[in-house]
């Protein structure tokens, strides 16, 4: 019959696959691929030997170490606090819950420099918290703890916002089933809740870690920026650029890029794993 001649096509929201894919690719190329490629080319230009000399210089190594250590501290803190926060937001009803939920996004929205300034003001020797901590022998400002604090502040929503939806989707019957089978609250958490949120939690922590590695604005105010002590890698790259040492800046930037890519890959793998685990749950 002639009716069959015209194939029926499913209606799509966006017109034309070619056009929409083309636009996304162009956009991605302009704002992501070209800058990254330029960075890589700049690095390649100097040759492996010079690259290695720059990134293995004592000051650069110290900067990488400080950045990684502070980011690790911040991530450990966020890993615990983020889950707790997500748990409170999902499992309890209390007045002001919606406000608290909205506040969770403040670190995303707040200019990082503002965050850095206010943290410095709070924790400096004459600030509200600093006035108490300093005499107790716990200086925060101009130490690695200050850097970690600023990193934790800007990256905690990553953990909360990845764990929260998974907790929300969790069937309460799972925990009830565990309880009727004799599991104590701790066992319920470790053996039923934890495995369910683990992939999302790991993905959130990875993203938070990546974000911490690249954090700049919030840190420079609180860190003091002493070479070999509180100088982070992003700042060192910035200093090299100021000194018109383009090779030095791009070599350090390339290492940070390398870290970021590895973390991104990890995060994506974890999310893939999470999606597959969820599919299995159905």
């Amino acid at each position: 019959m002639s009716v069959i001649a015209a194939p029926i096509r499913a209606k799509r929201v966006l017109p034309g696959f070619t056009l929409s894919l083309g636009t996304t690719l162009l956009y991605l190329t302009l704002i992501v691929l070209i800058p990254v490629a330029a960075l890589v080319l700049k690095g390649a230009e100097m040759g492996p030997e010079r690259f290695w000399r720059i990134v293995s210089s004592p000051r650069a190594v110290a900067a990488f170490q400080i950045t990684l250590a502070a980011a690790a501290i911040a991530t450990v803190f966020n890993a615990v606090y983020g889950v707790l926060m997500a748990w409170v937001l999902v499992r309890y009803e209390f007045p002001g819950k919606r406000l608290l939920d909205a506040l969770m996004d403040v670190p995303f929205a707040l200019p990082t420099a503002v965050a850095g300034l206010s943290l410095t003001a709070l924790f400096s020797a004459n600030g509200w918290f600093g006035a108490a901590l300093h005499p107790a022998g716990i200086p925060v400002v101009y130490t690695i703890w200050g850097i970690a604090l600023a990193m934790a502040f800007t990256s905690v929503p990553f953990v909360v916002r990845t764990v929260q939806p998974v907790l929300e989707d969790m069937d309460p019957a799972l925990e009830q089933a565990a309880i009727t089978l004799g599991a104590r609250p701790w066992a319920v958490f470790w053996r039923v809740v934890c495995p369910a949120i683990l992939p999302a939690w790991l993905a959130g922590c990875t993203t938070a870690f990546a974000r911490s590695l690249g954090e700049f604005g919030a840190i420079v105010f609180i860190a003091g920026n002493l070479p070999f002590q509180t100088e982070i890698a992003a700042l060192l790259a910035y200093i090299r650029l100021e000194e018109f040492d383009y090779n030095g800046a791009s070599a350090i930037a390339l290492v940070l890029l390398g870290f970021a890519l590895v973390l991104l890959l990890t995060s994506n793998l974890l999310q893939f794993w999470a999606a597959r685990a969820r599919e299995g749950a159905r």
Binding site: A173, A177, A178, I179, T180, G182, R191, P195, G280, A281
Partner: protein
Amino acid sequence: MAISISGLRKRFGQTDVLRGLELEITKGELVALLGPSGSGKTTLLKIIAGLEWPDTGRLEVDGENWLELAAQDRRIGFVFQHYALFPHMSVRDNLAFGLTVRPRAQRPGKAVIAAKVQELLHFLQITHLADRFPGQLSGGQRQRVALGRALAIEPKLLLLDEPFGALDAAIRRDLRRWLRGVHEATGSTTIFVTHDQEEAFELADRVVVMGEGRIEQIGHADTIHDHPASPFVARFMGATVELPVTLQAGRPEAAGLDLQALARRALPDGPATLFVRPEDIRPVPDSAAPWRIESRMSNGAHLRLVLRHATGAEAEADIPRRAVQAEALAPGASVRLRVEAGAIFPAERQGTAATTVSQPILKLESSK
């Protein structure tokens, strides 16, 4: 385990979910809690399990006060409506969960647990599924695993919440028979919640009919079917046709109805309501009668007639299509209705007694 429940009340916010329940269940019994959604049956089950707590009331099991006992210590097997299998554990690990979470002192050895799981897999006839994950199982298979996981802790009491609700009809029937077998094999007291009458009556020793937070009737299938204790049970059991009648010396009467088949009732004279199933109504052609056939539909085996009284009242009748008189029962024909069986309640008791007292609006409606 013998269960004794009394004065059980529970409110969720403004809603009374349970309004004072009294229930005794003897050891080894298989009891169904039957009722429409919102009748409180699942809440009752969860209170027995320790997953919900009543506001007031007593719950005693073998003389022990269970309201002082945490769910973990009650040693019940609970099967959830949507199975609630742990998605990240294999079937084997799901079955073993209840044994592996025991405190170290009471936990059986690894080999003992493995043997127990193997035995369960065999008993449930799912040995081939042992290493699969819940996501890879069909509904019926998940149901078996859920039941197996509950049985692993050798519960003294087995509670099932709409155990077959999410399965299709053929699997339901199989699993129903199978559950009956499991109950007989384990000898545990079993309570299950359902909104499906057929399921309740086919499976249970005793059926507890619940409606709006109350127990409306407790009994065996035949009793509940033939002698509903309240208008609620009558309606729920399919007596959807409600006819106004007048009681005189225990006999119901109404123009256009032939009620000779009904037994005499020990009820006071006055207005009453007769609850009848459509299949218990036989329309008989009678040109002088006040009922007319308004429409006629066939589903192949049966004819469904919609009947209209001169005063506007409506009734429905189901008759076998091949019955002789079917030919004469065309739309427009005048008929008298012969009622083969039905339940009669005095008109004041259209709602339940308590509702009528506490809510005057209903009383006004019912006295119309």
